[in-house]
Symmetry: C2
Subunit: 417 residues, 2 copies
């Protein structure tokens, strides 16, 4: 059995949507969004309910040292699990889907398989990666990064929130809320991982497609640019005597935009922060600070164009001093092999429309792919809005995403050696 097609488990779209609605009440904002930072009371309540549903099914629940939570349906063999999941925390003005929808889809997949009475070879797991958004605890970090050893657990547990609460004590609060959870070793092997997530971009909706099969999390480079001139009186200083940092920053921004123009519209180039000092009506600006965020799935393109930023900045400046500093660089993470292949099989068998596409944003699957074959399923969302209280998706699209997770778990159970 190469495709798992003879073991059919149909998800319950109503149950899945009802749980989305229930979860959206935990941390609900007045504008219809969700504010549920990692391991705040609302997030702990969400975790406890999810752990409760798992317990009611007879699934086991485990929590690791960093607060990642694993809900396991046993398999016939005592082997590393095939897992799916995402995160339950949100941005401060976040929506009802980013993260939690991937968790609920994983839970629904396990329950649908359970409802169908299917016995898998391997255990199946629904995972909640802790602190994905990184807005409460600084330094920003991801539960998945700690789990795979890409970030040091002791440092991340010592991180404090604005009130001085450590992540270590926040994890303890979670444990107390889920006393039936057993321990889990950080880095314990997984057989494979599939993450379902809203696209957070507009392409699937615009093209009328059901599912995106993610080919890679694109690479990124982030730079700070500082332009320094001289403050001067706007009324008295002739143009020829000015060293206007705003004027040069605009020249630089224009030159960079030309550099990153991409007729194929794959390159992402954004100047998101742009701060003009002193920022007074009648004062010629003496300093501008701005950020450059570029992303591309192809590492060679990212390297070649990213390396041209500094010389282009210097050439575009007419009178001011320019400093360029790279603050972050991450290569593209490809998703190849067993998991995306299983996703494609599942999508084709269900007859859903789909396309292959890179992910613009980072996700937990990026880190998990360091320890096991991984992949991602994208679900359309309304107008691509995310990190936004107006974030939205349809029950039908959400159900299709969960169905693909369920089918992919079964296919992987068949195909994995």
């Amino acid at each position: 059995m190469a495709n798992g097609g003879d073991r059919r488990a149909d998800v319950d779209g109503d149950r899945l949507w009802r749980r989305h609605t229930e979860m959206a009440e935990l941390g609900a904002t007045q504008k219809g969004g969700v504010n549920r930072a990692a391991l705040t009371p609302a997030d702990v309540e969400a975790r406890a309910r999810l752990a409760g549903w798992a317990r009611d099914r007879g699934f086991t629940v485990e929590i690791d040292a960093y607060g990642n939570q694993f809900m396991r349906r046993p398999g016939a063999a005592d082997a590393p699990a095939i897992a799916s999941g995402s995160h339950s925390d949100t941005q401060p003005t976040g929506g009802r889907f980013d993260g939690i929808s991937g968790v609920l889809s994983a839970v629904e997949a396990l329950e649908a398989i359970d409802d169908a009475g299917i016995v898998t070879d391997r255990p199946l797991e629904a995972v909640i990666w802790n602190n994905e958004e990184g807005t409460r605890f600084s330094p920003t970090n991801l539960g998945s990064a700690v789990y795979v050893g890409a970030a040091p657990v002791d440092v991340m547990l010592a991180a404090t929130d604005r009130d001085g609460v450590t992540m270590r004590s926040a994890v303890q609060t979670l444990r107390e809320a889920v006393p039936w959870a057993g321990p889990r070793e950080l880095g314990a092997p997984m057989a494979a991982f599939v993450e379902s997530h809203i696209e957070q971009g507009p392409e699937l909706e615009a093209e009328g497609l059901d599912i995106g099969i993610v080919t890679a999390i694109q690479g990124t480079r982030k730079l700070d640019v500082e332009v320094v001139g001289d403050e001067a009186h706007a009324g008295t200083t002739p143009e020829r005597m000015r060293r206007d940092a705003f004027v040069d920053a605009v020249r630089i921004a224009t030159a960079l935009r030309e550099l990153f123009h991409d007729p194929d519209d794959i390159m992402r180039f954004t100047i998101g922060r742009f701060e003009v000092s002193p920022g007074a009506l009648a004062v010629v600006p003496g300093r501008v600070f701005f950020t450059v965020d570029i992303r591309h799935p192809d590492n060679a393109t990212l390297a070649r164009l990213g390396d041209r930023i500094e010389p282009v900045c210097r050439r575009a400046a007419s009178r001011c001093d320019v400093r360029v500093a790279e603050t972050r660089r991450a290569d593209s993470t490809p998703f190849e092999g067993a998991v995306p292949e299983a996703i494609e099989t599942a999508v084709r068998e269900r007859g859903y429309s789909y396309k292959h596409m890179p992910s613009g944003a980072g996700h937990d699957a990026r880190y998990v792919s360091e320890i096991c074959p991984s992949g991602m399923v994208f679900v359309p969302c309304e107008r691509g809005l995310s990190h936004n209280e107006r974030e939205n998706a349809t029950p039908e699209d959400i159900a299709r995403g969960a169905q693909i997770v369920a089918d992919t778990l079964l296919i992987l159970d068949e195909r994995l050696p």
Copy 2:
């Protein structure tokens, strides 16, 4: 006697410089500048010392309802005075010359004329206009504007500072510190007014000139521009689907800069505030707010080019909405006739080098010119720096400016009908 040249009164440069040093101690900042907002203890102390020197000379002192202070040397006739002066308040990080130098030059002129034993026909006055910088009391206003009736005194006296202190009570504090001051009616006639001020621009120094004879305070138009697009995720949103407010704002700023390019370098065009929202590294900006400040001595040019701002903004925007609102418009104020003619006579007779030039900044003389012939003398300052703790000027240049004030007062006393 057409030129006053037979009544020679030479200023005492050492005394004048010593008083600059003494005044710079009142509100002195660590970086060598001055922080002396209107009618703060430091400013009241400055006012009291100036009033004390006047009393020691036998000059009369008057304070009007808004706190403008007049120190008068009587003349042979009981007629409106020929006046000179400026302001004693500073910017929060102001310098040692802006304002106070014009006051001290007027005082020095009166003392030099007194030392020379000259009896003038008209009284001569040294004036301190209250609250020129407008940084402590909002709404921003000028003592000279209230004096000439261009701003309502009751409203301006009711204005409060950050601590809730009214201008009315601040003026009362001044009165108590100068109990020998008599009252002065707002708008009481003056025969003429000459204001000496540091240039606050770099031209005189750059051209090696001693004196600037101000032809006009240039007109100005100030506008707010708002560019509204949509916030979006920097990693997931393709360029073709973005409405990036920063991108359009840069296009607009570039188009405006072309519009205001002036080969003669008379036009002043400044974008001083430029605020990008939400201003996050990974978020496509949804809104940009910026200000436009244009100034030109010619009202027709100001009208013609200023009226093109809104259409140019609209044409330059590619995808975002643009709103343009004019927040202030003031025509150019010319200085013509008796006062600049007297200044030119004085400069020529002293053999100083000079040029005619417009003033880029606003000054009290702008309002005073509404009630009597007025003019201004500019003195070179170091690198044009002003509204800056590093503001500087030489004792020799300051003395030349005071000399021209003294000579101009005497020439006007001869020439005025």
